[in-house]
């Protein structure tokens, strides 16, 4: 789920931070810039992992800001293709199920990637899987297991003044994951993690 990414960047320390320990000032600076943010084609940055090198501080002309060139590694959330993860169902629509985790809420399971025999129950607003005469429900907030199939990146381009007037422009999230719950063992954990007696019913 997590990777390390090596980045080189320029850190600018403002005079207010001169009282801090230099390493701490650099760390705070990097975290302010990257933590909880998505870099396109890299993933969701969590925090600084370690500082690899830092140059001498150079004071900028006229501003008093200290410029430091640093190389560091970041902890980044970027599940690989076919990785299995857990999360919770946040909502369901006719197009599919949305899953969230506390720190990342853009995981989508299209209706076609649900087990065969699943259908959307409009009155309840959730999916039902009919199997061997049993109805199993994809309840909201249920903990589910899913496999990552694809990722979708949207570069956040600023919206121009003309587009802004069109209310039709939908802001899409920068990083979205597409997942599947089609195979045996995927879907609500409660279906599969029961004690042997319950679990055996599901085996085909």
């Amino acid at each position: 789920m997590f990777i390390l990414t090596k980045i080189a960047d320029l850190v600018q320390i403002i005079p207010e931070d001169f009282g801090k320990d230099p390493a701490q000032a650099i760390e705070d600076n990097i975290n302010t810039k990257y933590a909880n943010k998505v870099i396109q084609k890299i993933g969701l940055c969590i925090c600084l992992y370690d500082l690899l090198s830092a140059s001498e501080g150079l004071i900028g002309h006229g501003s008093g800001v200290v410029n430091v060139n640093v190389e560091f590694r970041l902890v980044v959330f970027r599940p690989f293709k076919h990785e299995v993860m857990t999360g919770r169902i946040s909502s369901a629509t006719t197009t599919g199920i949305r899953i969230r985790t506390p720190f990342f809420d853009d995981i989508f399971v299209p209706a076609s990637k649900l087990p065969e025999g699943s259908r959307f129950e409009v009155s309840e607003g959730l999916y039902v899987w009919e199997t061997e005469g049993q109805s199993l429900f994809f309840d909201t907030q249920e903990t589910v297991r899913f496999r990552i199939e694809d990722e979708v990146w949207h570069d956040q381009i600023p919206i121009g003044p003309r587009d802004k007037e069109d209310a039709g422009v939908v802001k899409s999230s920068p990083y979205q994951l597409i997942a599947t719950m089609e195979d045996a063992g995927l879907g609500p954990c409660l279906w599969w993690d029961g004690d042997d007696g319950e679990g055996d019913e599901m085996e085909s």
Partner: protein
């Protein structure tokens, strides 16, 4: 900003967890506030790790310093890929059904119930077994609580509207 290496290493959830708890401990000793966006994401990530069925939430705590090496050693007889080992470490499958989601083409590579149970019991030997009853209870409780919160929020909106 320049990306020098998009992926220089892969981390297990346990390593990330260790990094975050160590960082938290280090910060508690220093004065000043850390950036708000950092605090948010760290809190949310720790919440995720503490939610059932994450092995990091289970008691006794399944991981320790030499655990990864021990797991590799124990799984050596079988031919798992690196990605599979990583997922085994993160998800701790203790039933063939759970292992099946992680391992591709399991029936061809590791045929038969007996062999599959042997593998999952080897994993359980190193990482321990979840307390099934407690874990399921925790999962339903969490779901119930979240559902209630969601309903409360909806009520608020209704009242406002």
């Amino acid at each position: 900003m320049k990306i020098l290496e998009a992926q220089s290493a892969t981390l297990t959830n346990y390593e990330v967890y260790q990094h975050l708890t160590e960082q938290k401990r280090r910060y508690s000793g220093t004065k000043g506030r850390r950036p708000g966006n950092l605090e948010t994401v760290v809190k949310e990530l720790l919440d995720y790790f503490h939610e059932a069925p994450s092995p990091l939430a289970s008691k006794p705590f399944p991981y320790h310093d030499g655990v990864f090496k021990a797991l590799l050693e124990r799984l050596r007889p079988w031919d798992f890929t690196k990605a599979e080992i990583l997922m085994i470490m993160n998800l701790r499958p203790t039933k063939p059904e759970n292992l099946n989601t992680i391992v591709e083409e399991m029936e061809e590579r590791f045929p038969g119930d007996e062999l599959q149970w042997e593998i999952v019991s080897a994993i359980a030997e190193v990482l321990g077994k979840p307390d099934g009853e407690a874990e399921r209870q925790a999962m339903s409780d969490e779901a119930k609580e979240a559902r209630k919160e969601q309903a409360d929020r909806r009520d608020d909106v209704d009242m406002d509207g």
